[in-house]
């Protein structure tokens, strides 16, 4: 029982960051049909910022918000520099544009900073634990889940109650109609990138607290998981992205916990990917279907 609870908490903690990233990818896909493979580079941006600032002894209470802000700025910048110019192109073109940005980001860090890993100090309490009813929890897991829940609640509020959120949802369903209703394309899309940047920034702060280091390819591992989670959930479905992220985190932790030791255990990730492939074979459109507006 206690291991099950621990496994679930562990899985939700891991899944939380996937969910935040997947949600950002889904929001951007909603407004411009771009699968943004450069999205997780925002984590790398935050990581290098934290690395530079931490050498100046800056407290994590300042560092974490700074990471979030840097991700927002970087996200909006990618839209202005690159994605605005391919808006309305084929999904293929947009996807490769995001790939080019991802490559470029890797290369720039490698050329101008260093190809090797740079570590810095995380907050002291990260690996502290506490006990409830005989079950031991890490503070970081609890903090991750709590912050994620808070951010998701905020997201739900923004998308339900604010004009911006409603414009983004409307644009996800039918951009042309949303424009005719007065939504301004540039603002909605830039806003969506800013919001996705915010979500990625929060994820980055949580990730970096736990493993405080910066390296050029830091984003890659998260990127794949996040994209997969967004697509498992059904691209453009915001609930789906969150569900996909959490499910992926849980699946990883559970498989690792329950696969027999030896070769099988080492093949956990291979199993996760095999499961994902199987999912797309059964449901090509993902778990949560978004209504397609294509007319025949």
């Amino acid at each position: 029982m206690s291991t099950l609870v621990q496994t679930i908490v562990d899985g939700l903690g891991r899944g939380s960051t996937y969910a935040l990233l997947a949600l950002g990818i889904s929001v951007i896909f909603g407004v411009m049909h771009l699968v943004n493979f450069a999205h997780a580079e925002l984590i790398t941006v935050g990581a290098y910022l934290a690395y530079f600032l931490s050498t100046r002894d800056i407290n994590w209470w300042v560092l974490a918000p700074a990471i979030v802000v840097s991700a927002i700025v970087a996200s909006v910048a990618t839209e202005r520099i690159a994605f605005r110019w391919v808006r309305g192109s084929s999904p293929f073109t947009m996807l490769l544009t995001s790939f080019a940005l991802e490559r470029l980001s890797h290369a720039l860090w490698q050329v101008f900073v260093s190809p090797t890993k740079k570590s810095f100090a995380g907050p002291a309490w990260v690996f502290d634990t506490f006990e409830v009813g005989g079950i031991r929890f890490e503070w970081m897991d609890v903090a991750t889940i709590a912050v994620t829940a808070l951010v998701l609640a905020l997201t739900a509020f923004v998308f339900r109650r604010t004009l911006f959120g409603i414009a983004v949802r409307a644009a996800s369903e039918d951009f042309d109609a949303a424009r005719l209703m007065g939504a301004r394309a540039n603002r909605v899309i830039a806003g969506a990138f800013a919001f996705a940047g915010f979500l990625a920034g929060v994820a980055a702060a949580l990730i970096l607290m736990r493993s405080p280091s910066a390296e050029p390819a830091l984003g890659s591992d998260y990127l794949i998981k996040a994209v997969v989670a967004a697509i498992i959930g059904g691209l453009g479905s915001f609930t789906g992205a969150v569900a996909g992220g959490l499910a992926l985190g849980l699946a990883e932790v559970m498989l690792r916990g329950y696969l027999p030791e030896g070769v099988w255990e080492r093949l956990t990730d291979a199993f996760v990917f095999a499961l994902i492939a199987a999912l797309f074979i059964v449901r090509p459109q993902g778990l949560f279907t978004v209504r397609s507006a294509e007319r025949v």
């Binding site: 110019w85 544009t97 290369a107 794949i224 093949l267 492939a277 797309f280 074979i281 025949v296």
Partner: protein, 630 residues
């Protein structure tokens, strides 16, 4: 006559492929010879890399270029083949030391280079063929995600199955090939395969499905097979590259097959232009050479990782400025085809102008149809067709909205039936039900005594129902001729019992012969509509389903369309079911009119009866009663 014409066409297509492949091969040979004439062994390595890249990128082009489905997973099969070669070719004596726990008795296996290559490529391709079933079924982004999952799954297996692969360290002491001959041969084969595939039925159908996933089934293409075939062919080429590469280097490890490497190879495909073999070839050369140049510059100026910067910048610039790639759709093979057809048409036209060989004008279709339609019609065959198209009690619900609520109609062979009704009456939905795009909740669609209610769109098209679309669905990147030729090809294959229609006759009737080599997407609206009709007719269907064929046309064009639709239908011996908002058009063309409102048939009869019908006038104009103030 048609058979000799066909084999001549086939020979011409093969000839084009051979010439284009030969040209690219020759350019590569000359460039490599000049480059390696000085500079030593390092230069030889670049040539080897270029050749391997050509094989892989040609493989990618066959699938990604023809189907438009992005794949990250191809490298996984290069990796499988590379390990396949390593495991079967490394001497048994070496394996005892390096792989003591190797399973399946592989420890004793010791094949020569040819045997190992064949075994590895065949094994990788078979595995690819199995996974390809899922990829071809899924299509779109889901297929892309499956390929990504496959790449990572294979990567994980290779990294963690120590007993077989020695994990991240990889396998070495693979017997090396001493000459580049095999690589050159593989490059030539890859160029040939890529070119020839594009001319095969599978290749052409895959491109059709890439251009429009809904229009392709509407001419009888089951998109699964061309996609799957493209996948298997392309996996085989990439596996071949993997099998040869490991024998050039003598070792293999997981780092050679990461997503990063995959993106480098994808960049080669798209920078030149992924839709054509020429584009893929140019892109491979540009990126391979640029990458090497960046490496050398980086080395001399001590800048690490300059090649990666180059790759990012090059890819970004091309995507922002030329999303179609440097060459766009330019292609040697296609260029030769245009030249060939252009000159042939001039010859044909010189003695006495061919009816349709004039610039398309408003009256051209009607006129050319009148001159060619009478003698060569296949109308006589229509009697042997498969009977009437009968729709009974069809109900379709979108959420709470009943789009069709017991709609029914009947079209007899050779008859022209007009389907009218106000916006939202369910006309297009009815077409979509007949055509298999929308599933009906209840009701039946019968063609003669065959029940089509539960068939997918491509089966329905093969049974003899061809349609056009309200908002035009042409194969936009393909030539006008190819649009019609694709449907004719499908007809020969899937409707062999019917006499095939000559593509040129249909083009002439539609007044499109003069623009036959242009890209379909560049035609003006009226010509696009006529082209869609010609494409549907090329299937030699039992019935043509036309969804607003005169939408966006001028009055004069609409009138010409009456004759054009009639002649075309008679020419292929098809009945017609036509939706249109232009009542003048429908009244003139129809033998019988069915009026639909709110998903139900509210009136039917001859055009005269409908014109006087009360219910129809009400549905269109609204009821005049006390509740609405004047």
């Amino acid at each position: 006559m048609p058979s000799s014409g066909l084999s001549a066409e086939r020979a011409e297509r093969l000839g084009r492929s051979a010439i284009a492949s030969g040209a690219m091969f020759a350019v590569t040979v000359v460039a490599a010879t000049v480059y390696t004439s000085s500079g030593g062994a390092a230069r030889d390595l670049l040539v080897q890399e270029l050749l391997v890249n050509i094989v892989i990128v040609m493989g990618l082009q066959v699938f990604i270029g023809s189907t438009g489905i992005l794949s990250f997973g191809h490298l996984a099969f290069a990796q499988i083949a590379a390990y396949g070669v390593a495991l079967t070719a490394i001497p048994a004596a070496t394996k005892v030391g390096t792989l003591p726990d190797i399973p399946f008795g592989l420890g004793d296996v010791e094949l020569g280079p040819v045997g190992a290559t064949v075994v590895a490529v065949v094994a990788a391709t078979i595995l690819g063929a199995v996974i390809g079933v899922a990829i071809a079924r899924a299509g779109g982004l889901a297929a892309t995600m499956i390929t990504l999952a496959v790449l990572f799954a294979v990567d994980q297996v290779v990294k963690n199955w120590q007993e077989m692969t020695r994990g991240a360290g990889g396998l070495s002491s693979v017997p090396r090939l001493t000459t580049n001959t095999w690589l050159w041969l593989a490059a030539l084969v890859a160029l040939l395969v890529a070119h020839v595939f594009r001319e095969t039925r599978a290749g052409r159908f895959a491109v059709a499905a890439r251009d429009d996933e809904i229009a392709a089934p509407a001419i009888g293409i089951n998109v699964f097979w061309p996609r799957w075939t493209a996948w298997v062919v392309s996996v085989a080429l990439v596996a071949l590259a993997g099998a040869l590469r490991v024998q050039m280097i003598g070792s293999t490890n997981p780092k050679q097959y990461t997503l990063d490497v995959g993106i480098l190879l994808l960049a080669m495909l798209v920078v030149g232009g992924m839709r054509t073999v020429s584009g893929a070839f140019v892109g491979t050369a540009v990126i391979t050479i640029g990458n090497e140049a960046a490496r050398q510059i980086g080395d001399t100026h001590e800048i690490e990782r300059l090649p990666e910067l180059f790759l990012g910048v090059a890819l970004l610039i091309v995507m922002l400025l030329r999303p179609g790639g440097l060459l766009g759709d330019a292609d040697i093979a296609a260029w030769m085809q245009r030249r060939w057809h252009g000159s042939r048409r001039r010859e044909a036209a010189s003695p006495g102008a061919l009816a349709g060989d004039e610039p398309a004008s408003d009256e051209a279709p009607a006129r050319s149809a009148a001159s060619s339609g009478t003698g060569s019609g296949w109308g006589a065959d229509s009697g042997s067709g498969s009977g009437a198209l009968v729709v009974r009690d069809v109900v379709v619900r979108f959420g709470g909205f009943r789009a069709l609520d017991g709609a029914a109609l009947r079209v007899r062979p050779g008859e022209i039936v007009g389907l009218i009704g106000p916006n939202g009456a369910g006309k297009t939905t009815l077409f979509n039900v007949v055509n298999g795009l929308v599933a009906e909740e209840s009701g039946t669609v019968m063609l003669g005594d065959r029940d089509l209610s539960h068939d997918p769109p491509h089966r329905i098209a093969r049974a003899g129902l061809a349609r056009t679309f309200q908002n035009l669905r042409l194969f936009g990147t393909q030539s006008v001729r190819e649009n019609v030729a694709l449907a004719a090809l499908a007809a020969r294959r899937y409707r062999p019992e019917r006499v095939t229609v000559e593509v040129d006759d249909l083009l002439a009737q539609a007044g499109l012969l003069a623009v036959a080599e242009r890209r379909a997407a560049t035609l003006d609206y009226g010509n696009q509509r006529r082209l869609e009709l010609a494409r549907a007719a090329a299937l030699s269907p039992e019935f043509l389903l036309l969804d607003e064929p005169t939408s966006g046309m001028s009055n004069a064009e609409s009138l010409a369309m009456v004759d054009h639709v009639r002649t075309t239908a008679r020419h292929v011996g098809a009945g017609v079911l036509v939706i249109d908002h232009d009542l003048a058009f429908v009244t003139r063309i129809s033998d019988h009119i069915v009026a639909l409102a709110e998903g139900r048939v509210i009136a039917e009869g001859t055009p005269d009866e409908i014109a006087d019908d009360h219910a129809v006038a009400e549905a269109y104009l609204g009821r005049r009663d006390a509740s609405t103030p004047p």
